[in-house]
Symmetry: C2
Subunit: 424 residues, 2 copies
Amino acid sequence: MFEHHQAYLQALGQQAKQASYALANLSGEQKQQLLSAIAATLTAHSDTILAANRQDVVNARASGLSDAMIDRLLLDKARLNNVIADIDNVIRLADPVGTELESQLLDNGLRLSRRRVPLGVVGVIYEARPNVTVDIAVLALKTGNAVILRGGKETLQSNVALSDAIREAITAQGLPADAVQLIQSADRALVTGLLKLDRYIDMIVPRGGQHLQRLCAEQATIPVILGGIGICHLYADKEVDIDKAIAVIANAKVQRPTVCNALDTALVHRDIAAQLLPKLYRQLADLGVSFYACPQAKALADGFAVDIHDATEESYAQEWLALTLGIKVVDDIDAAIAHIRQYSSGHSEGILTDNIHAAAYFVNQVDASAVYVNASTRFTDGGQFGLGAEVAVSTQKLHARGPMGLEALTTYKWIGVGEYTARR
Amino acid sequence: MFEHHQAYLQALGQQAKQASYALANLSGEQKQQLLSAIAATLTAHSDTILAANRQDVVNARASGLSDAMIDRLLLDKARLNNVIADIDNVIRLADPVGTELESQLLDNGLRLSRRRVPLGVVGVIYEARPNVTVDIAVLALKTGNAVILRGGKETLQSNVALSDAIREAITAQGLPADAVQLIQSADRALVTGLLKLDRYIDMIVPRGGQHLQRLCAEQATIPVILGGIGICHLYADKEVDIDKAIAVIANAKVQRPTVCNALDTALVHRDIAAQLLPKLYRQLADLGVSFYACPQAKALADGFAVDIHDATEESYAQEWLALTLGIKVVDDIDAAIAHIRQYSSGHSEGILTDNIHAAAYFVNQVDASAVYVNASTRFTDGGQFGLGAEVAVSTQKLHARGPMGLEALTTYKWIGVGEYTARR
């Protein structure tokens, strides 16, 4: 890494840490005022923000981005208003900071409690959509954290305009603007450097694809919350209501196919495959789904006009994010679990069954952030889970698992109060 | 890394993961029986274990290890009996696995709960003392986890004998011996390789010095719990009971100087330095303490026969683990907090004061796993905190902070139960 990168990142980290100390002192009410001020300033600067976004769109078209990508990065008046309106929802959430998780008087005379506190400094690396800039800044501030943002280069102008407005609002509240900092250079070396600022940053959240996740896992010396990759399965057990099972599978696949909790592979017990699969092919093909099926499953599609391919190791390991579904016939529940263990990304898995023992066994033996019985994988979501907000969806097991709400942006400290108490 | 290392580590990881599935199914009672069987088998194999330890001691002497180091690795009949007796304490602890942290019926019809489950596979890297082999294996099994152990080469024979006995007991209970695996080669490349087995290992706990901690932070692609490094401070505020403050400082320094929660630097408000420091020098010198003091503090030692040196950047950054104490006079509480922010390892920090506002301010502004008011830093300990066991002391903020009890060896999964419920 170049020396000027090093110096830039060090300054960024120091400023964030310094700002975090001021944020740790704020009351819930002060943080609410801060967020209200941010909403107002964003509204006041709407024209500047939309103009910056138009520039991003012009650049995106010039560099040949697809219409779908351009739609993702586009902000219009209505979308920006929604982003700003969402701040009100965060304002209304309970502030987890300051809660004492337990408090006891120890035999040694010490009053010991565990108090929820901000993490300190959070680094978030994300792609495309500019609303993330506002979402993350607001969630971080709500929990008393400073944040360093690194957005995609496609939305740089928008992100600069948004973060400038946020920083203006922070300053106007008499707080350090560096509570929210945006890395404005598109240089990738800055990402690698950011991942090693363990002296200043307490947690890294990468919100992006497999490549970004691996980069963070491999390069970071800071704890990273991996997530957002969902290779999700539903297993239809032999004792199952076939029509209802198909309805859940269809929901999990087609209700919103481009997101991480959408279904990728349906596993079907061999005893019911001949009844379930022809119906499933027909219904899902009507919804525009194509299939990658094992030989046994493919044989059951004979005579239907469905788009069906041979399943492979690679297709089973695929997060489709599209109207495509893997299909595999399995001998029993253990074979289903073994398949899931091999291919799951630990996001969302489910069993469809009428048998209570099969359900309990599956729940116990499948290792994922969310395990469902007779429900769609699409439920794995901060909003659906009632968390009020979603920082990310974690697929790792430490600190936060599954949809991450405000608590995931906090840690705790032990507080021991004595009377000049010594240890015996 | 050599290919045979790669193959060995892959097998190790796969076997551990496979064993973890069997452990996840055990009831609390079955795990208690397993631990009882381990205690009995260790007792039955005492002679073999002690003989192996004698071999380690012979080798240690031959390679010129210090008497202190040899004492650390020595097992005699009494020490081994203590290690085995400690298993009974773990048996009696409540099993955190299976607890439902919350359970609610969502508006969308889903019954959603969060259930505490084992992490899966835990990797522990440690140095010297052979009792850690038993401690960690027992705590991991108690929480339904498989464990991969990498002990120090100085205790290899002891660790082999101990883990062989543990594995024999596991097998006799009809469970997979690979629930506990010991890396028997001293090759350091295996440690680096272990840190990258993210497909199989869910958490790495390094129990060792700064060098090991940094190695893990830099090399691991698996979440690591850093900890065990304590650069600890006590700040004597201007409103303080001088004699009582000195007693707490003395306790924090001398009660057990070789451990991570022992005091490293005392910070003293300038208004009371002239009263406090001469007394402190005298009392602590009598207990064998030597000092590294700032110029202002050193001047106050004139005329005393104490061993006092000039404090430096390096001395302030030192975890002494010995009867040595840094001393610094500070202008006010903010200067004390600034010093702590610069040099603290985030382990244990404290304020000595009669002023309630100073205490609250310090607790809020100091970022450490444990923050004390009028108490010794020596309290940061799983036993003192009533956790019943101590896996390690974490100085990072994610997952577990401070003394880690059984819960730190668990995670949770979200469980959603519906009635063939789809998302709208």
